[in-house]
């Protein structure tokens, strides 16, 4: 009798053990991710200033937010930054991957050179580029010292052009990674397919346009998801490269949220901006993750 209950207990324990092991992580995610999201959403409907408060103010914070010129600047900057960043990274990544795939001598040396920037912190990248782009010290100065007296490249000091320097530095950091994603895709394509098309007389250009690039669709999708998510989260690079300036010319939603919440003591407005960032990312990620998880039922 005793042994049977003991065995029973053991089986039950074995049944519960996996869930028990999973539960701390799950609890942490539920509290620190979903609980915190709920709390931030709640805060965005309160009149919180320096400290969280409980008086509900309805949509006031959102109304204030959309009326702020700083927020509009941040959104326009994000639109410029994200679209250029995604398009240029994808274009450079695809070009380098296709070129590297042509039985290149020294591929093993080139690949790590293209990839190493992604190991660096955005603060380091920002420090390097800030100096390289500084008209008095970097590229402009060097070109003038070499005798090209009229050379000017002062984008980083120009209110209208500074956001493009953020694009340059961000592309430098990530495009090698996109190259690796496309290269993996290219190496997975069946060569027999290409040979058959060549026998049929297809030119290289048509071969890539009609056959190879359509086959890389999954890599395009992954690159888009990763790059758009990185773009919306971009914070460190702007801080290190321009500090959001000149003036507020390179403010992005991420830097806006931080300064309104922690330095301007407008916590309600800051929370509202964070909620909008989350919604934007969710609109991209949720369909993607849903498709990924549904594709492979196990």
């Amino acid at each position: 009798m005793a042994t049977s209950t003991e065995a029973d207990f053991r089986t039950r324990l074995q049944d519960w053990l996996p869930k028990l092991v999973l539960s701390p992580s799950l609890a942490a995610i539920l509290v620190f991710v979903y609980g915190f999201i709920a709390y931030s959403i709640y805060l965005s409907f309160t009149g919180s200033k320096m400290l969280p408060s409980t008086d509900l103010v309805g949509w006031d914070n959102y109304r204030t937010l959309w009326g702020l010129s700083a927020w509009q600047t941040a959104l326009i900057n994000l639109a410029i930054f994200a679209s250029l960043y995604i398009v240029i990274c994808t274009a450079i990544g695809l070009l380098l991957a296709i070129f590297l795939d042509q039985r290149i001598r020294g591929e093993g040396v080139l690949r790590p050179i293209y990839l190493y920037p992604m190991a660096l912190s955005f603060i380091v990248t920002g420090t390097a580029w800030k100096w390289f782009l500084d008209p008095g010290l970097g590229l402009e100065n060097t070109m003038r010292l070499w005798g090209w007296e009229s050379f000017t490249f002062g984008w980083i000091k120009d209110r209208d052009l500074a956001i493009y320097t953020v694009v340059i530095a961000a592309v430098w950091q990530t495009s090698g990674f996109v190259m690796a994603m496309f290269l993996a895709g290219l190496r997975g394509i069946d060569n027999e397919l290409l040979k058959a098309a060549q026998i049929d007389g297809a030119s290289n250009w048509n071969l890539y346009r009609r056959i190879v690039i359509p086959l890389l669709r999954p890599a395009f999708l992954s690159a888009f998801v990763i790059l758009s998510h990185l773009a919306i989260k971009s914070y460190d690079l702007v801080i290190a490269l321009t500090g959001g300036g000149p003036g507020r010319a390179t403010e992005l939603p991420a830097t806006f949220m931080y300064s309104y919440t922690f330095t301007r003591n407008q916590m309600g407005v800051g929370a509202a901006s964070a909620v909008i960032m989350l919604m934007t990312i969710a609109a991209i990620m949720v369909p993607y993750l849903y498709a990924e998880l549904k594709e492979r039922p196990q």
């Binding site: 995610i29 915190f36 070009l95 390097a128 010290l137 430098w172 071969l207 989260k233 989350l278």
Partner: protein, 311 residues
């Protein structure tokens, strides 16, 4: 240079991207002019990627007068390691002339436990989610996966409050907690995808032989987890070491991590800007992740390809 070539050869032999034989490359044929053009473009891009960091290295070895008065591409006339020594131990960070050394130690003390704990939990979670499946586990995994991609701005305010309540505000322990929690999704994802390919029959057989949950994990699962553990460790190490947002938000002052201290050094508005010291500091901050990348980069890329998005 020799390590780089060695790395390259290794990379080609084992391949983060499978390149064991030339037949893996495309079958497309290219003419001589086209090939010259391709090599030219590839080399130009290599220059583009090397230049900013290379310039930083060169200029960190110059005295300040050579930088402000001279050409950034010129080699130092007066080689000096003084900027490196200054960045490491005497440069002004915030208000204290401590150099980056204490912050470097802060980052080490933060990154080691955070990586170890999140990788361990990720392995256990991946094991449960693939070999001990239950109703609704895919939904739970989906919840964990989405957590990887949230913009961290949405958790900054509540997290600051929570750390205050726990008495962990402004401490390294607080940062460890933060990095473990927000790294869990990725580590779980890696291990889950890796274990999914491991034959479940072996686990079943061990169960029939009477082996329990932990016994199977220790004896059967863990011994084959090497490659994915390396991926998880590298991923977490790089992300946590390079994090700026959490460090700046939750650990001001003397407990700040390396990235925050570097930003303070570079963007402090007082005094003469010692660019050579800034560069030495930036390279010091980059060194750990660069070393990890050079030593084990091929696993990293392979893991990113296999584990993160493509499944």
């Amino acid at each position: 240079m020799s390590t780089l070539t060695q790395e390259a050869q290794l990379a080609r032999a084992k391949g983060p991207i499978p390149t064991p034989a030339p037949t893996q490359d495309t079958a497309v044929r290219t003419g001589r002019v086209a090939r010259t053009f391709i090599y030219l473009v590839l080399l130009l891009f290599a220059l583009f990627y090397l230049l900013p960091f290379g310039i930083m290295v060169i200029n960190s070895l110059k005295p300040l007068s050579e930088i402000t008065g001279g050409n950034m591409l010129a080699l130092p006339q007066d080689w000096t390691i003084a900027p490196w020594l200054s960045a490491w131990s005497t440069a002004q960070i915030g208000v204290e002339p401590t150099g980056l050394r204490p912050y470097f130690l802060n980052s080490i003390l933060m990154v080691v436990p955070a990586v170890a704990i999140s990788t361990m939990l990720g392995a256990l979670n991946g094991y449960v989610l693939t070999k001990w499946r239950f109703r609704g586990d895919t939904i739970l995994f989906g919840l964990m996966l989405f957590a990887c991609f949230i913009p961290f701005q949405i958790v900054l305010i509540p997290m600051a409050r929570m750390l205050g309540l726990l008495g962990l505000a402004g401490t390294t322990a607080g940062l460890i907690l933060v990095h473990v929690v927000y790294g869990l999704g990725f580590t779980t994802l890696y291990f889950r995808n890796y274990y999914a390919a491991f034959p479940t029959e072996l686990v079943r057989a061990a169960m029939i032989d009477g082996a329990g949950f932990f016994r199977i994990f220790w004896r059967i699962i863990l011994p084959v987890s090497g490659p994915i553990a390396v991926v998880s460790v590298i991923w977490q190490f790089t992300n946590i070491w390079n994090d700026f947002l959490f460090g700046a938000s939750f650990a001001a002052g003397s407990s700040a991590p390396m990235t925050v201290a570097l930003n303070n050094l570079v963007n402090s508005s007082t005094g003469v800007k010692e660019y050579n010291v800034h560069f030495a500091g930036a390279i010091l901050a980059a060194l750990p992740t660069l070393i990890v990348y050079v030593v084990a980069g091929r696993y990293f890329v392979r893991g990113l390809m296999a584990g993160s998005v493509k499944g």
